[in-house]
């Protein structure tokens, strides 16, 4: 059959087999975390509404596998690529190769440092970290007590390091704030053990900053099982469990990104780009700061 809508840059993509449908390659970072699963749900929803086909790859946070997936998608000549980069510099050559084949590249969640990228959709992580930091600043200033903060993070994640930087910067000149050294705990059970250990050594640790889903939930499990109401968590990525933690008072405040919205916007951008329209270079998705006061609006029991 012939390709009637073939004006866009996807001229290379014209396969013989009924090519009215737009195909989008989704190079995920992982599909084993709620956050990314939510992005995917958003992607699938909008793609379905628009009758686009989606190819999804899960490299499980392995940069080599993600690059291979991008190459495979280029080989298959998809009409657009949505990329959640595992490593935001290492994907650059593969992205540029895809671009050279005329495939528009939409990045989400993690900014990719290349001018070849059509757009970035996601959270301004430094700002979000800062926002949480400022919120926290108010709390400590009003309590007047010193704050000793343990940090659980993924040292490998650029995005999470940005959050940490923003958070720390917001608290830079607040008196009585000390940070313990960062501990690695992207996985829930890892984070659980680390928080238990930190509490052994620092009975005066009254706050924990956890930079993503697993770290928050591990810390939450540790505090819950110790019935510890003296130490409060601050963190990113509210899941149902975390929401309960907020309601129960273990978690002081969290930044909620809008992963589903990120996914939805990414597909919309991909569809536009595939049709040859230009898309905005950066589409910020606002974050929501959740605490006891507003969490009920988003998570009903």
């Amino acid at each position: 059959s012939t390709n009637e809508s073939g004006e866009g840059p996807s001229e290379a993509g014209a396969g013989e087999s009924g090519k009215e449908k737009i195909t989008i390659g989704v190079a995920q970072a992982t599909l084993r975390h709620q956050f990314y699963i939510d992005i995917n749900n958003g992607i699938d929803k909008i793609a379905k509404e628009n009758g686009a086909e989606v190819l999804t790859n899960d490299p499980n946070l392995d940069i080599g596998k993600q690059v291979a997936a991008i190459e495979d998608f280029s080989e298959k000549k998809v009409d657009a690529l949505i990329l959640m980069a595992v490593d935001n510099s290492a994907v650059v050559p593969a992205v540029e190769e895809a671009k050279a084949k005329g495939i528009p590249v939409i990045t989400a969640d993690a900014v990719v440092k290349s001018d070849q990228v059509d757009t970035f959709i996601g959270t301004e992580n430094y700002k979000a970290g800062e926002q949480l930091g400022l919120y926290f600043k108010k709390t400590i200033e009003s309590s007047g007590k010193p704050a000793k903060i343990g940090v659980i993070t993924a040292p490998q994640s650029f995005v999470q390091q940005e959050r940490l930087r923003g958070f720390k910067d917001a608290l830079k000149d607040v008196k009585g704030v000390t940070f313990l050294n960062e501990q690695p705990g992207y996985q829930r059970e890892e984070s659980l053990a680390i928080v238990e250990n930190m509490l052994q050594a620092n009975s005066d640790m009254n706050y924990i900053f956890a930079t993503a889903e697993g770290s928050v939930l591990g810390a939450l499990a540790a505090l819950e099982s110790a019935n510890n109401q003296n130490t409060k968590i601050l963190g990113f990525d509210v899941t149902k469990e975390a929401a309960t933690g907020i309601k129960d008072g273990y978690i002081l405040g969290m930044i909620q990104q809008q992963p589903e919205l990120i996914g939805e916007l990414a597909v919309k951008a991909a569809l536009e780009a595939a049709k040859g329209e230009t898309v905005e270079k950066q589409i910020d998705v606002p974050v929501i700061l959740m605490d006891k006061n507003n969490v009920g609006e988003y998570f009903k029991d």
Partner: protein
């Protein structure tokens, strides 16, 4: 001449039987006990928080899951096998037990069924290895992926939260001042030790790992024993998975990821021969505790995460190097 003199002195030193036994134990190739002791002493000196009843109970409770997995793995490795899928088995049993409890199955029944499911998974693995003669590494590598896939398909990637207090008690409760996970761990360790050293099944496990053909010719039902080992390992690992789910109050398809390497490392650190035929549960205990105390100590000392990597690796090398000293000396002779 020199040597003769030395060994004369050595003989003198040997007289007090107790000292000799103690030093034999310390230098026993089959356990990393000397490494553990040094680590323990060092940590006690460096961190004031280390040597407290609270912290020790904390470490033991943390190591329960790994300990139980490692006991199961000890059996597998002594037969000359390996199980790379235990991490995924943890995930599967976590989501299975959580799923059942979420849908109202009473806790004891849910736990029992989960352990049985673990046993059935082990049966599959064991059959492929024992009857189809596919190398254990391949079978369990494939199962690592498959079971993880199962856990994700079952949950669609979303962890199942468990609020049941009875279930939470398993991982978070206390009997007096002793955390329940420690009690479960001790029971598993003791039973594992008895099974391995005081039953025919246990001895067959050694014989098979040592020389499978010999075992067969001696009339041992090699296939059955091998399958039995994987069934046992599957069931025990499922128990560990249940415990972890309870500690996290969640059945997550992510939990357990990568823990196979920890379990194998603990077993090998404890002096069990990766080629089979040799090994002890007591050694495995040492291996698990080295890992646990190391992690705990570094956290207590507030070592930053990159430096932790360096130190962990070096300490493990050192611990094993000390433990293999005796073996090296024997070789030199």
């Amino acid at each position: 001449m020199k040597n003769n003199e030395l060994s004369g002195q050595a003989r003198m030193l040997q007289k007090p039987n107790f000292t000799r036994k103690l030093s034999a134990f310390l230098l026993d190739k089959g356990s990393a006990v000397i490494g553990l002791i040094l680590l323990f002493v060092l940590m006690s000196i460096l961190s004031g928080d280390f040597l407290s009843v609270d912290n020790l109970l904390n470490v033991f409770r943390q190591s329960a899951v790994l300990m139980i997995m490692a006991v199961a793995m000890t059996f597998v490795i002594i037969t000359g096998g390996i199980d790379l899928s235990v991490g995924s088995q943890i995930a599967v049993s976590g989501v299975v037990v959580a799923g059942m409890i979420a849908s109202g199955v009473p806790v004891p029944l849910a736990v029992l069924i989960t352990v049985m499911v673990g046993g059935i998974i082990g049966l599959g693995i064991g059959s492929a290895i024992s009857l189809q003669k596919i190398p254990p590494f391949i079978v369990t590598l494939a199962m690592l992926t498959i079971l993880s896939g199962v856990a994700f398909v079952y949950t669609k990637g979303t962890p199942i939260v468990i609020n049941n207090p009875q279930f939470r008690f398993l991982g978070r409760g206390y009997l007096g001042s002793i955390p329940i996970p420690i009690i479960i761990m001790v029971v598993v360790v003791v039973l594992g030790h008895i099974l391995l050293t005081h039953t025919r099944f246990g001895r067959y496990v050694y014989a098979i790992g040592d020389n499978e053909e010999t075992a067969r010719l001696c009339g041992i039902n090699v296939r059955l024993v091998k399958i039995g080992v994987y069934v046992l390992s599957g069931a025990v690992t499922a128990l560990a998975g249940v415990l972890l789910a309870s500690r996290l109050s969640t059945g997550s398809p992510n939990s357990g990821t990568g823990s196979e390497l920890d379990a194998i490392a603990a077993v090998v650190l404890g002096g069990t021969n990766l080629f089979g035929g040799e090994g002890k549960i007591t050694g495995t205990i040492m291996g698990v505790l080295i890992i646990a105390f190391l992690n705990n100590g570094l956290n207590l000392l507030n070592v930053s995460s990159y430096n932790q990597m360096l130190i962990k690796g070096l300490v493990i090398l050192l611990a094993v190097w000390l433990s293999t000293m005796k073996a090296r000396k024997a070789m030199a002779k």
